[in-house]
């Protein structure tokens, strides 16, 4: 019986992980969960220079985690939750692991049952 604990298997595209591994980009994603924000609002939130903030937004766009819409003079950003859900995939492997362990628990209980 193998008991190796599960972990990331490569099901999630590496660019998604790379995108969320950066703290500034996680701040952006958390902020966008509240609703859409303009590029200017996000830049202000990060206390970063405009080029630095633009670069983070470009990485998030490239990973498919956010989309940009032009509204007049503003660039408005929206969260793309489907890609975020993929990150939850690594937890799924623990679910598989625990289902196997609960099977093993059932076997043990059957064995221990007083005759």
């Amino acid at each position: 019986m193998r008991r190796i604990f599960p972990t990331y298997t490569g099901l999630v595209l590496p660019d998604v992980f790379a995108a969320v591994s950066n703290p500034a980009r996680r701040v952006i994603l958390d902020e966008l969960r509240q609703g859409s924000r303009t590029a200017g609002e996000l830049t202000g939130l990060l206390h970063l220079s405009r080029p630095a903030a633009s670069e983070h937004l470009a990485v998030l766009r490239g990973a498919g985690l956010v989309r940009e819409e032009r509204q007049g003079r503003n660039r408005v950003y929206y969260l793309q939750p489907a890609r975020l859900a993929e990150i939850g995939g690594w937890v799924k492997h623990f679910e598989q692991y625990w289902n196997q362990r609960l099977d093993a628990l059932g076997d043990l209980l059957d064995e221990e049952k007083p005759k």
Partner: protein, 135 residues
């Protein structure tokens, strides 16, 4: 955004006392999960031997004797909380299992993010085969 939990339920045709013993007696726990000196005492610190993952530090957070136990699992690594709660039902016991607090912003989560090639992450490349082999 990245907090996640696993919740599972399983019904066993065995009395609550038998299931409780299997969860909280080290000799029995080792036979279905892993070796470790668990005890149903709040504040009890113990370690679970997770094979290739090494010893994982744990601490009991809450106990309702014979009914539920909650403990911190994998201190400083995975940093999650495991809870087992037993519900007596006609002809057996339902176990309510929860493994909560998965976050990418932990050493384990960061390894997953970075996809590094040593230590725990070394398992990454093999795990699909391992899972396929046991299922």
């Amino acid at each position: 955004m990245t907090e996640n939990a696993i919740r599972l339920e399983r019904r066993y045709p065995h009395p609550v006392a038998a299931v409780w013993a299997a969860l909280t007696t080290p000799e029995l726990l080792a036979r279905w999960w892993a070796p470790g000196n668990i005890a149903p005492v709040v504040g009890h610190r113990f370690s679970m031997d997770m094979d290739a993952w090494g010893q994982q530090q744990c601490e009991v957070l809450a106990v309702d004797p014979g009914t539920s136990i909650s403990f911190h699992f994998s201190e400083g690594q995975l940093d999650t909380t495991i809870t087992w709660r037993l519900e007596p039902v006609d002809g057996g016991t339902i176990i309510h299992f929860e493994h909560a607090g998965f976050q990418l912003d932990t050493p384990m989560g960061r390894h997953a993010i970075e996809g590094m090639g040593h230590g725990w992450p070394g398992l990454l490349a093999r795990i699909d085969g391992v899972l396929a082999g046991v299922s």
